[in-house]
């Protein structure tokens, strides 16, 4: 148990990092509509790509199951939403608080530490992501896109995707000098968004490209979610999960150290 808590310190309820979560709740309380609008985004995508484009595409074969395109693309959209949400909180929003409003200078003058800040922001990103993902999963359920009982693991799966990208996002942000550097975030996100077997199956690529894509981060999440909701389970899913967990852990470590270096020179 303590080992788990060391790896995933945000699970320890009420611990110091939760103060950052409280802070963000206070900040969002006044702009709750922004919070609410986060629900709409993946839903719009599902209606447009899943249903609109779905009509043009028809049914697809996924691991031996013939499913409508909507069922194929929805878990991909879920993974994308988990990535996007967690990157928004840990890159743009984090940078703004670190460099422009100097919020963390105030936080660190209190008994909190750089690691608390990193853990707190990741915890927040995950909580928010969990709420949106849960809502999206309910929508998928209503559309009949949850084909297997394994779907109950899709929510933890989304949290894991969020964790991986939150860690990496936070760590990367500590290396950014100005908002201009956020171009790099776009340069990374857009190809991942488009090519991680999100909108069309891996089989559409030639063998060389397939290998490259198998190594990219969002692909891990897409495979994980798609396999869970369709019920196409096998042991390699654990590898995908481990990949995401490692991203999060390494990111959290690097971010904690870098926040210390930047804010406590």
């Amino acid at each position: 148990m303590t080992a788990t808590l060391r790896i995933l310190p945000f699970l320890r309820w009420g611990h110091r990092p939760w103060r950052l979560v409280e802070r963000n709740v206070l900040a969002y309380r006044r702009v709750w509509y922004i919070f609410l609008s986060g629900f709409a985004e993946p839903l719009f995508f599902l209606l447009s790509i899943g249903i609109g484009v779905g009509k043009l595409v028809g049914d697809l074969d996924v691991g031996g199951h013939l499913v409508p395109y909507r069922t194929f693309v929805a878990p991909g959209l879920l993974a994308i939403a988990a990535m996007n949400g967690s990157l928004l909180d840990t890159t743009f929003n984090f940078f703004f608080k670190m460099k422009y409003t100097h919020t963390y200078d105030g936080v660190l003058a209190a008994p909190l530490t750089p690691r608390d800040v990193a853990t707190g922001e990741i915890t927040w990103a995950l909580l928010r992501g969990t709420i949106y993902s849960a809502a999206f999963l309910v929508t998928m359920l209503l559309f009949g896109d949850l084909r297997s009982w394994w779907s109950v693991l899709a929510l933890p799966g989304a949290v894991l995707i969020g964790y991986g990208f939150a860690g990496v996002g936070l760590a990367a942000t500590t290396y950014m000098r100005s908002f201009v550097d956020f171009d790099y975030v776009n340069m990374a996100m857009i190809p991942l968004f488009l090519f991680s077997a999100t909108f069309f199956p891996l089989a559409r690529y030639d063998a060389g490209l397939q290998t490259v894509i198998r190594l990219t981060p969002l692909y891990q999440g897409v495979v994980l979610e798609r396999s869970l909701v369709i019920g196409d389970l096998n042991w390699t899913l654990l590898l995908h999960a481990a990949y995401l967990l490692a991203m999060g852990l390494i990111g959290l470590r690097v971010a904690s150290r870098r926040i210390g270096l930047l804010l406590q020179p």
Partner: protein, 309 residues
């Protein structure tokens, strides 16, 4: 607690090869108001950040509240209040929420924070702005809110880095008044400033810093007594005066003189007599003014430069 609240020996801060604080020693006693007076770049903020446990020291020893900042940062910070040089209020929150969340950072129960926050807003005269956002507050209001925030945990030591820089005179006096009240209530105040009047008003004892080192230490009165004559005659010369010659001529009137860009300071124990002599002499003085010696003069004499360069 017996012994000093804060004690430093050979305390040093380096940024790469640059030395920002160069082996300074000081001890701050419980209940006193202690100042670091020095010009920009002297190393005041670097010192305050080491005391506040948000900047690791590069050398020497430092003990704060009997603990070592290198190991006990969070425990020490729990008992400090910090007013940093640049306000870092949470601009996404209201005045009230700034206090609430700051109390939470110290793990205080919400009910207790609410009580204290209300008292503190009263204390810094911001009760009517409690639901305002931070952005539209004036500089003086933000500073007062930062002070209220720093007091939310009832700190034993309050660190104030240039508390009134950039404020208009009225806002400054209001702030001084609040700090004076805090001092009377027993809080140890540690402040930095480059205003000699602020140092004289607030500090029981101070050190003068220049170029990363401490150049003098004592109470304001004692520093003046030890380093300067009682009074100073300020002589303003005409624009077309032969400055070098006039300065030489003024030398005979004081124990010591300092030539500044726009005037000459003549240090003397009897200002009126010296002023009279200077006026009746044929020197082309545009104006002659007598004043009491200040910390500004101490700094000038010790370093050869003026504080506000």
């Amino acid at each position: 607690m017996a012994g000093p609240m804060i004690e430093a020996h050979a305390l040093t801060k380096r940024f790469g090869s640059f030395v920002a604080v160069d082996g300074i020693d000081f001890a701050i006693e419980p209940g006193e108001a202690f100042g670091f007076l020095g010009p920009n770049g002297a190393g005041k903020t670097s010192t305050m950040r080491m005391i506040g446990c948000v900047s690791p020291r590069s050398g020497g020893e430092l003990s704060v509240l009997g603990l070592d900042p290198a190991h006990d940062g969070p425990q020490i910070r729990a008992r400090l209040g910090v007013v940093p040089q640049e306000d870092n209020l949470d601009t996404e929150l209201t005045v009230w929420d700034n206090l609430m969340i700051y109390g939470r950072y110290f793990d205080l129960p919400r009910r207790e924070i609410r009580e204290r926050a209300a008292e503190l807003l009263e204390f810094v005269q911001l009760s009517d702005r409690r639901d305002s956002r931070v952005d539209p507050l004036s500089g003086g209001m933000k500073r007062r809110l930062t002070i209220a925030r720093s007091l939310i945990n009832r700190p034993e030591v309050l660190l104030l880095d240039e508390p009134t820089t950039g404020l208009d005179p009225q806002a400054r006096h209001l702030l001084w008044d609040r700090l004076y009240q805090l001092k009377r209530s027993g809080v140890t105040l540690v402040l930095t400033t480059h205003y000699m009047d602020e140092a004289e008003q607030l500090c029981d004892r101070l050190v003068i810093m220049d170029n990363a080192r401490i150049v003098a230490e004592g109470s304001p009165r004692q520093l003046i007594a030890d380093n300067v004559t009682r009074e100073v005659v300020e002589v303003r010369l005409g624009i077309d005066a032969d400055t070098a010659a006039e300065v030489a001529a003024l030398k005979q009137y004081g124990d010591r003189i300092e030539a500044l860009a726009d005037r000459v300071l003549v240090y003397t124990d009897d200002g009126d007599a010296t002023a009279g002599a200077v006026t009746s002499d044929g020197i082309g003085a545009v104006s002659v003014l007598v004043r009491r010696a200040s910390l500004e003069d101490v700094f000038l004499i010790l370093t050869g430069r003026s504080l506000e360069d």
